[in-house]
Subunit: 191 residues, 2 copies
DNA sequence: GCCGAAACGGAGAAGCTCTCCGGTTCGTGT
DNA sequence: ACACGAACCGGAGAGCTTCTCCGTTTCGGC
């Protein structure tokens, strides 16, 4: 059901729930009690579960705006001249965003879309990244064994160990880019 | 209290709990219900909590043997000629081990040792890695910005996104070693 | 304003963690 | 062998969370 469907009170409660969820998740992390979100939104817990049957549904909805911004950003960067810089700029913004959501984005990236969830935020990020990756790969600027899924998985791993510290996430991403092994003949420029 | 102290029935119950925990965690992951572990071990839940006050205590104990093996392995590798190969061989074994524990090692690596837990498995791994890292760094075989904690953090991130798939973890570690960016002039040899 | 459908919310079931306390078992000293 | 204190055990239950049922309220078209 689209978010703008249904009765007026339904839409109002949905918005209240999303606002409360953003606040509570941002404060207490992605594992915060759902009941507190319902209380904070001023609705019953049954209403929360009716709108968002699982915790994941709520996490997906909370991230919609941030993911949308990243998708727009990917479109902008796809028009830039330097394919390699565009790719890493976007990945840096993704890892910084994920590092500021207290694990919310991490949960979404962690589990695969699954058969009954084809339209999740994770696949939107995948679709946004794919053109940037394809262009950089065609330019020889990406390790030939590194696929789109590998990049997303690695960024996910980084964001999960750097919750609440975007700078640390950005630093580890730079290490991933240049490589930790002995082939660091030239340090990669950040962003 | 050392694991070999106390009365005979206490030691027996401790062993039963550890065996049950290894089985249940291995089957259902690090978030499995503790009550089921107690039931599977044939003891009351109070006994489980008396032996292992927190879930983390139990996870630490379950990993003791595996971490011990890795520490021994680090000593062996420290005697090898090639410092770079020794470092990456050990990291590969670590990421493979962590990828087979259904998130158990990941939980331990995730949270810092903390003030009241100076002897956790995470710090044992840190101490095992440090000499390998120092030697490889001295030989110029490691990115100058990559510290011991960075390596452990990155391995943790990789293991957390490759649960139950050691091959995938090993592959991502190889990518981390050689770098995803454009400086992949020579592919890194694995293990 | 009426009324059917849509949506709500509290109460409660079920599951998990952790604690309290009465009862049991161990092992030591005689 | 046996008695006894200390160590240990386990079930019952409190507190918390997720999620569902169902009687009640609210919306909005007519």
């Amino acid at each position: 059901m689209p978010p703008t469907a249904g009765r007026a009170d339904r839409r109002r409660n949905r918005e209240r729930l999303l606002a409360a969820a953003a606040e509570v998740f941002g404060r207490d992390g992605a594992a915060a009690p759902l009941e507190e979100i319902a209380r904070s939104a001023g609705v019953g817990s049954a209403t929360l579960h009716r709108h968002f049957p699982s915790r994941r549904d709520l996490l997906e909805a909370v991230c919609t705006d941030g993911v949308e911004r990243l998708c727009v950003r990917a479109d902008e960067l796809a028009a830039e001249d330097d394919a390699e810089a565009a790719l890493w700029t976007w990945l840096d913004e993704l890892v910084r965003y994920a590092s500021t959501t207290r694990g919310v984005v991490g949960v979404l990236l962690a589990e695969p879309p699954g058969p009954q969830r084809p339209l999740c935020q994770s696949s939107r990020l995948h679709d946004a990244l794919e053109p940037l990756w394809a262009r950089a790969t065609a330019a020889g600027a990406v390790h030939p064994e590194a696929g789109v899924d590998d990049l997303l998985t690695l960024v996910n791993g980084i964001s999960r160990v750097t919750d609440d510290d975007p700078e640390a996430g950005s630093r580890l991403l730079a290490l991933l880019r240049s490589g930790v092994g002995s082939n660091h003949h030239r340090s990669a420029t950040r962003g």
